[in-house]
């Protein structure tokens, strides 16, 4: 008699199933291999081997399995038994309970193992015909429907994306064709294929589906089409009616000029040969994932960003990725394969008659360029243009390449005022408004745009009187700027005689020159990363010395505060690879990274020690959280000084960016000459809020951050500087000075106005203000308090 082996994760389940089968066929020989023990769920290949041996009497064995590892373990068991027994074993895909009952009855009747397995597999039929009669009668029931496109621009990106999303969800083999043009059928699940239908307003589209849910799927698509694919009413006509509304202020200043959009230039694809599909395909997967993250990032806090749906769908378009895979398997390297496949799909758009749809090829090009850049590690799109840059969002790299002489301002549909891109815009003195809404993306190039980066107001195509008002505001700001600039080279002293050093944050030679031009008293933060990033080997001590001396010269001999390398998992160096981290911002970065790469660190400290013999230098360690780190760093600095020779005026400080360091400020006193509070990171770490996330508030004026700053000033016992964004916030200046801060380090263009803000401060009036502010509920309340006091005063 054919034996039966039941493989299950659960011993209890197997025993119960056997009891059920025994009621129908008491004579069947059933062995179980189930569970690791009485209660532990799992399957065991060696137990299956034993069960097979016990169940076989020469007529063979049919094996029934539940799911997952049961199947894998059974297959493995087949490898572990001898050829003779293996030839008599059948692994049967029947459902466990129904299959077992059918198999037991059939085996007990004396049937051979093939018949037992067949009967077991048919064990589901009874239930199927009971519950879904149509399935067993006609499993391939097709359905068909016709819809008329009512969308003004036809089945373009967004409606097409909606159709594809629905089709993928319905999973009923949906296909569509343009009946009006007589096109071929294309899968409704591929955005690139759907877009090639060239479906304009009024065209008739046929929809067909197969499978048991065919009719329901077609009905669903017809319903979605009737709702115009859920396309929201059109945004203001490009170049049409003027409209004015409010975004969020991100970089102060008035921007007036013609709108321009970034033209993305395709990146150069190097002619490197393939290193094999196993290497090249993961590059594609990784780059696609990176671009998806970029787009997801814009999505965060911006539910209106659905215009990127089309881009997201292209990123997992089977048509596109399938062709990339074929090209890679055919021996192409990842960049060539992706570029080639995207170009072919984009070309399909170029043959279409309708200019609007032809333009959809741009989506493919944009996504393709973005993926290629991610793959090749290149930075963003072309950023040269005149007037007001209108864009969805701005990366720090893009902001860094804007030419302030030509770009009069930046208007972003999305983005956050605390993002790195916004910080960069402020550093470079480029006015910016963020969160203006997706409607601004349809502004035609050349249309005049005016905005106030200090308030967030913006106007598209303003009428002359409105424009004149903006011009007047700009003139007022310019005048204020001129007056401040005239006084910029004088020290900043409060109205009651307290001197506050106003320093500049420097990340390049140009910044150092701008710092000197704007009257900075010193460089309060030199971000040395600019020397280290985007290269294949670390700069040696000689190169570093030369660069630091160049900075000192540009600053006219003012003190340089050199912050040691501040990198980590979020900003990896190619030559000092960081282990992957679940959360790089809570990982090995800043001083932790330097201590983990002692050779790199020693080189930088040696360079700093040598420069300190020539010009006034302070060295500052970033991202400190414990005293032990500072002691270790100072020990290495001592070694560097021993090598370079003593420097008379080398001062040593730490950055306080971690709440733990702020709370322990007194513990650092014996080891430092000064501390500098990095309010950007301190705000993020205190509020657990990523500053680039538009959905969160990461405002340094939060009372919790202010309390920490106050604590540092009270306990550090050494001079306290602030080198974050907060220092440049004119409203915050008197609050920080009242808390005890004696140096403010800001972007070079902000130096004159911050000096003026210091001069307007009365220390003896602001003490109680600081006390009130730190007791408030949130940053908004602090800002309101500052505003009311400033109006009163």
């Amino acid at each position: 008699m054919v034996g039966i082996v039941l493989v299950s994760h659960s011993r209890a389940l197997a025993r119960a199933a056997v009891a059920l089968a025994a009621e129908m066929a008491a004579g069947a020989r059933i062995e179980i291999a189930a569970g690791l023990d009485e209660t532990t769920l799992g399957t065991d290949a060696t137990a299956i081997v034993d069960a097979l041996a016990a169940a076989d009497d020469g007529d063979g064995v049919v094996v029934l399995m539940d799911l997952g590892s049961a199947v894998l373990s059974a297959e493995l068991a087949l490898e572990l038994i001898d050829d003779d027994l293996r030839s008599r074993v059948v692994l049967c895909p029947a459902p466990l309970v129904e299959g077992l009952v059918a198999a037991a009855v059939t085996a007990a009747s004396g049937a051979d193992r093939a018949e037992v397995a067949r009967e077991a597999s048919d064990g589901l039929l009874g239930k199927l015909s009971q519950l879904e009669p149509s399935v067993s009668v006609s499993p391939e029931k097709d359905a068909m429907g016709t819809v008329t496109v009512a969308n003004p621009h036809g089945l373009h990106a967004r409606p097409a994306a909606r159709l594809v999303t629905e089709a993928r969800r319905l999973d009923a083999g949906l296909e569509v064709r343009n009946r009006t043009t007589g096109s071929a059928w294309v899968p409704a699940t591929s955005l690139s294929r759907v877009a090639t239908l060239g479906a304009l307003r009024g065209h008739e589209i046929e929809v067909r589906a197969s499978g048991p849910r065919a009719q329901a799927a077609v009905d669903e698509i017809v319903a979605v089409a009737a709702r115009k694919f859920d396309e929201t009413p059109d945004v203001p006509h490009p170049g049409g009616e003027p409209f004015a509304t409010g975004g969020r202020p991100a970089s102060a200043g008035i921007g007036i000029g013609p709108a321009w959009r970034r033209a993305s230039t395709p990146p150069d694809v190097p002619d490197t040969p393939s290193r094999g599909a196993d290497v090249e395909w993961p590059r594609v997967v990784g780059a696609v994932a990176a671009v998806r993250r970029e787009i997801d990032k814009i999505w965060e806090g911006n539910p209106e960003a659905s215009i990127f749906d089309a881009h997201l769908l292209l990123l997992d378009d089977a048509e596109l990725l399938g062709e990339v895979r074929r090209r890679i398997d055919g021996g192409q390297a990842a960049p060539q394969a992706f570029q080639g496949a995207a170009a072919r799909i984009a070309a399909a758009f170029d043959t279409l008659d309708d200019p609007y749809l032809r333009g959809r090829g741009d989506d493919v090009h944009a996504v393709s360029d973005q993926v290629l850049r991610a793959m090749l590690g290149l930075s963003g799109a072309e950023t040269a243009g005149d007037g007001i840059l209108v864009a969805a969002d701005l990366t720090p790299a893009e902001a860094a390449t804007l030419d302030p002489a030509r770009v009069k301002g930046v208007l972003l549909a999305f983005g956050s005022p605390t993002s790195h891109g916004a910080i960069m815009a402020r550093t470079r003195g480029i006015p910016m408004v963020v969160g203006a809404g997706p409607a601004v993306l349809s502004v035609s190039p050349g249309i005049t745009v005016a905005f106030d980066g200090g308030t967030g107001e913006f106007v598209i195509a303003p009428a002359e009187p409105v424009l004149a008002a903006f011009r007047e505001r700009a003139a007022g700001l310019a005048e204020r700027g001129r007056q401040a600039a005239a006084r910029a080279h004088r020290p900043a002293v409060t109205a009651d005689g307290v001197a506050i050093a106003v320093a500049a944050n420097v990340g390049s030679l140009a910044d150092a020159r701008a710092a000197a031009d704007n009257g900075a008293d010193l460089a309060g933060l030199v971000r040395t990363e600019f020397l280290f990033l985007d290269r294949d080997a670390a700069p040696g001590p000689d190169e570093q010395v030369a660069t630091y001396l160049e900075l000192a010269e540009a600053l006219g001999g003012r003190r340089l505060t050199l912050r040691t390398l501040d990198v980590g998992g979020d900003k990896p160096l190619r030559y000092a690879p960081a282990a992957h981290e679940q959360n790089p911002f809570l990982g090995v970065r800043g001083l932790r990274h330097s201590l983990a790469h002692p050779a790199l660190f020693a080189d930088q400290l040696l360079a700093i020690a040598r420069v300190a013999r020539e010009t006034p230098v302070s060295v500052m360690f970033p991202m400190v959280s414990s005293v032990a780190e500072v002691v270790a760093a100072r020990r290495m600095l001592d070694d560097a000084v021993a090598k370079a020779g003593p420097a008379e005026d080398l001062r040593v400080g730490i950055m306080i960016e971690v709440p733990a360091a702020a709370l322990k400020a007194a513990a650092f006193t014996p080891y430092v000459d000064f501390v500098s509070v990095g309010t950007n990171d301190l705000t993020q770490y205190t509020l657990a809020a990523e500053r680039g996330n538009a959905a969160l508030t990461a405002d340094g004026l939060d009372p919790a951050v202010l309390q920490l700053v106050g604590l540092v000033c009270a306990r550090a016992g050494v001079p306290v500087a602030v080198c974050g964004e907060l220092a440049a916030d004119e409203a915050a200046v008197r609050l920080l000075t009242a808390l005890g801060v004696r140096e403010l380090s800001v972007a070079p263009p902000a130096v004159p106005l911050v000096k003026d803000a210091v001069r307007a401060t009365h220390m003896n009036l602001t003490g109680s203000l600081a006390q009130r502010a730190t007791g408030l509920a949130d940053a908004a309340a602090v800002r309101a308090l500052l505003k009311s006091v400033s109006l009163a005063g």
């Binding site: 290497v279 993961p282 992957h580």
Partner: protein, 211 residues
């Protein structure tokens, strides 16, 4: 080439893998709870603890014997799909190791290739299915290439670790097509695959113990 490893070193590898699995047990389970049935960490930990106990009782004298005992122990103690998958991998490594008493870089690449082939044969996984294959395949390819270029084993394993880690990261956006995670469809995207994560630990353990 003086660059060889003996049974003692390979035993250290297996033990290091067990240690890493213990250390990451909760992480693996957490990853599996996001996309599967939350048993990967517990199951593998149970299996590798049993392996360490079995090997402590009686030290094997050849690599093939070490891998065979490891594989057979995993097969009967893990319980979940990782049992037959890792079991097959180690059994194939045992077969590929043959009679050798020591393994050089090319041998290590060879046995890991055999392990990968075994995983493919057992799990029928392909690239992009969001499985351990997505981390192990690039690791093996990287190891073979580095060894083929005459790199010392320690360096080659470092390359394999990075390739495995990249492969593991690449599973994050993938939609699972194998195992219980595949029932989740799109919801399986956004987390690294637990199998890719644990097999990366196997490569990390090799780099730590064999370098």
């Amino acid at each position: 080439m003086a660059d060889t490893v003996d049974t003692t070193a390979l035993l250290a590898w297996v033990r290091e893998f067990a240690r890493l699995i213990e250390e990451h047990r909760d992480l693996l389970t957490e990853l599996d709870s996001a996309i599967g049935d939350a048993d990967h960490g517990v199951n593998l930990h149970r299996g590798m603890s049993a392996v360490v106990a079995a090997l402590a009782e009686d030290t094997p004298d050849r690599p093939a014997e070490l891998f065979k005992r490891t594989g057979m122990t995993l097969v009967s103690t893990v319980g979940g799909a990782s049992g037959p998958l890792y079991g097959t991998a180690f059994l194939r490594m045992s077969a590929a190791a043959g009679d050798a008493e020591t393994l050089d870089g090319a041998d290590v690449a060879k046995i890991l290739r055999a392990a990968l082939d075994g995983v493919v044969a057992r799990g029928k996984a392909q690239a992009g299915d969001k499985t351990m294959y997505d981390a192990l395949a690039p690791a093996v390819a990287g190891l073979e290439e580095a060894v083929g270029n005459g790199q010392p084993l320690s360096h080659a394993l470092g390359i394999a670790v990075r390739a495995a880690e990249q492969g593991r990261e690449a599973t994050i956006p993938m939609v699972a097509r194998k195992g219980r995670a595949s029932y989740l469809g799109e919801r399986s995207a956004g987390h690294p695959d637990p199998g890719a994560t644990s097999v990366t630990l196997l490569v990390v353990a090799a780099a730590a113990a064999l370098a």
